[in-house]
Every structure is written in C-alpha cells, then in structure tokens.
C-alpha cells in the first residue's frame, strides 16, 4: 500500500477484518476463546473488547518500533509487546469488572498466545505505517468481537433461554448448548454456514484456511 491511500481503503481494511478475513470463521485462527468464553453474550462481548484493545495497541506499538527491531529477534520482541499489553488489559479488567473477570480470568491472560494477534503484527503492522496498522487492528478486533457475539448469542439463547442475562424465551432450555460440546457444535455449524454463504452468493471456494 502506498501513500496514495485514502479514506476508502481504511474502510476496506476494517471490512476485510470483519467479513472476508474474519479471524474465527474465515482465517480460523485463535479458536480457543471462540468456544471457551461464549457460553453467554456478555462474556463473549467482554472478551471481544479485550482482544480489540490488545490488537489495536499491539499493531500501533509494533508499527512504531518496526524500524528498530532486528529481523532475527522480531518474533520474541513481538511476544513481549503483546505480553505487556495483555498484562495491562488483565490488571485493568481485574480492577474494573470483577464479576466477569472471576469467570474468565485465565482466558484473558491467554490472549497473549492468540495466533491472530501475532500474525497481524507480523504480516501487517511490521510493514506498514501507524495509521493503516491502527485501522487493521480495529478491523480485526471488531471481526473477532462480531464472531464471539454471534456464537454467544446462539449458545445463550438456546442454552439458557436468555440474552445478556435477561430471560427471553420461557421454555425448557437445551442444556447441551452451554456445555463444551455445544460450543464446538455452534462454531462448527456457524463456520459451515459462513462457507455456504460464501460459496452460494460470492462464488468463493469455500473450505476455510484449514486451521493452525
């Protein structure tokens, strides 16, 4: 990307993160939180916010220091940058949103090992200026948030009959959806659905990344 960048391509960057390169459904990176924290919309949302924050800050930081890091030690350096921002997020969440943190503290700490954050830092932010990196971070973060909220939506609605903790439908819930099994089912079915939409309406090849 050259200096002739304009506003539109920033919007494209964000859109790529949400749809065509959605971290969970299309690129299939960082699947652990997709199952782990999505037993409710609220948890999925908070996790998404945490990832959005870390991803954006890491992209900016990597972009700023990209000229000072020797290529041979870049991966460990990125790991330390990520770990620093995760610590910031972890401690802030422990202070401000206690009840949610109590349920998913371990997973917040494990953001540090998310492949998506490292891969965006390596593939994008290490080669780009600060502003595009910022938008790339926002786009990918929102894509992540979007995926987690969708999965959380189905699992909470079917598994507990509620949304964001408020009861919605008054029937006997499908308990299986909030068990680990349900998480795997929900992700598998939604991923299949995304593939189907892609093949049917956009002529894509289907069969996403293959995982890592």
């Amino acid at each position: 990307m050259s200096n002739s960048e304009n506003k539109i391509s920033y919007i494209t960057l964000i859109k790529n993160g949400i749809f065509s390169e959605n971290p969970i459904f299309r690129v299939a990176l960082s699947l652990c939180p997709a199952v782990a924290v999505t037993s409710g919309v609220k948890n999925g949302f908070m996790m998404g916010i945490a990832v959005l924050f870390v991803q954006t800050m890491v992209n900016i930081t990597v972009s700023i220091v990209r000229k000072f890091i020797h290529p041979k030690v870049r991966i460990p350096s990125y790991m330390f940058i990520i770990a620093t921002w995760v610590t910031v997020t972890d401690l802030s969440m422990a202070a401000f949103v206690r009840d949610i943190y109590a349920q998913m503290g371990l997973y917040i700490k494990l953001i540090v090992a998310f492949a998506i954050i490292l891969s965006r830092a390596e593939l994008f932010a290490s080669k780009q200026k600060i502003v595009p990196s910022f938008f790339d971070g926002i786009g990918n973060g929102i894509g992540f948030l979007f995926a987690l909220v969708i999965i959380g939506f189905f699992r909470e609605l079917l598994g507990k009959g509620s949304l964001w903790g408020f009861p919605i439908v008054d029937t006997k819930p499908l308990l299986i959806m909030i068990l680990p099994t349900g998480g795997f089912f929900a992700v598998g079915l939604l991923m299949g659905l995304f593939n189907w939409i892609d093949m049917k309406f956009f002529g894509g090849g289907g069969a996403s990344g293959g995982g890592h």
Binding site: L29, A36, L110, L179, F185, G188, G192, M199, A207
Partner: protein, 195 residues
C-alpha cells in the same frame, strides 16, 4: 507427598479436565496438526516433554525469583519469555546434538510457543498453589491428555478423508462437530475422581 494424590492429579489433568475437551485450550494446534497420524504423534511427544520441563522451569522461577522480588503481577510477560526462550534453546541444542531428531520434531517446536496450553499450565500451577512435584505431574498429565485428544482426532480425521461430507462443511466445520461429540463422551469421566 503420597503417591495416591499425585496419581489423582495426573488422572484429573489428563481425563477429567482434559485441556482440549473441557477447557477448550490449544485448539489451534489441535486442528492444525491432526490431519495426519504421524504429525500428531510427533507433536504429542514434543509437546509432552516441553510441557513437563516448562512447568518445572516456571515453578522454580516463580518461587525463587518472582516472589522474593514481588514481581507476581508480571507473570504473563515472564512465563511467555521463559517458554519462548526455552523453546528457542531446545531448538538450537537439538539441531546441534541430534540432527535426525531435529528434522523429525523441529517443526513442532516452532509451533509450540503460540500454544495456549503451554502458558496455561504455569499460570494454573501458580493459581492452584501446587508444589514442585505436583506442578510437574500436572504438566505431565496435561501433556498426556492433549496427546490422547490429538491421537483420537487424527485417527477419526484419516477416516473422514473418504467420507462424503457436504461441501460447506468440509475441513474445519466437520472437525468441530466431531470434537463436540468426543467432548460429550469425555463428560463421562467427570465423576471418576473427586478432588
């Protein structure tokens, strides 16, 4: 420390709280390497040994360096640094000492740093307050549990190659659904031991 308690800890880490099926960690590698049996066996061996050593290493560093200096809040940064450093060192040493083994397992070593489980084990060791031996057994149990999950999954996916799956579900989506079914089966272990 009696042997019975360690055995319970091991079984609990490997079966009841299996990282893949009940804590949903390490899925990236789990889905990445289980396409073939050989790669998943190679990964299992590498993974279990790195897990035990990193659990021990991190326990020593936490107990003798971080606690005396009051650095507990830096656990994420330090643990990831220790794991990355150790993996890098293992990579270099293996290349020099045993090139044959390096060509077999070296590629998995590089993947391990971005695995959540390898970081989750030291973090859990700290929050559960395990001692040195317990930490190592917990790491070993987790490694064995992860290996078991990978080998089960690899054998199913090899059969899946010849199955007639709808096009939209080929690859990852169907693997997720199978994992869900195995996770359901693993729920059956939950009453085995009460810790």
């Amino acid at each position: 420390m009696e042997f019975g308690k360690l055995f319970e800890l091991f079984i609990a880490a490997a079966l009841i709280n299996n990282f893949v099926f009940t804590r949903y960690l390490g899925l990236c590698i789990f889905f990445g390497v289980t396409k073939k049996m050989d790669t998943s066996i190679g990964m299992s061996v590498t993974f279990t040994s790195v897990m035990v050593i990193s659990a021990a290493l991190n326990w020593v560093i936490y107990k003798f360096i971080m606690i005396p200096l009051g650095l507990g809040f830096l656990e994420i940064v330090i643990f990831i640094g220790v794991v990355a450093g150790f993996v890098q060192a293992a990579d270099t040493i293996m290349k020099k000492v045993s090139p044959a083994l390096y060509y077999k397992l070296g590629i998995y070593l590089a993947l391990i740093t971005t695995n959540c489980i390898i970081l989750a084990v030291p973090l859990l060791n700290v929050s559960e307050g395990y001692n040195f031996i317990e930490s190592m057994f917990f790491g070993f149990g987790s490694g064995v549990g992860f290996s078991l999950a990978m080998i089960i999954m690899a054998s199913i996916r090899e059969k899946l190659e010849i199955a007639d799956v709808p096009k939209a579900f080929q690859g990852l989506p169907i693997s997720f659904i199978i994992t869900g079914l195995i996770a359901l089966a693993f729920l059956g272990f939950s009453g085995l031991i009460t810790l």
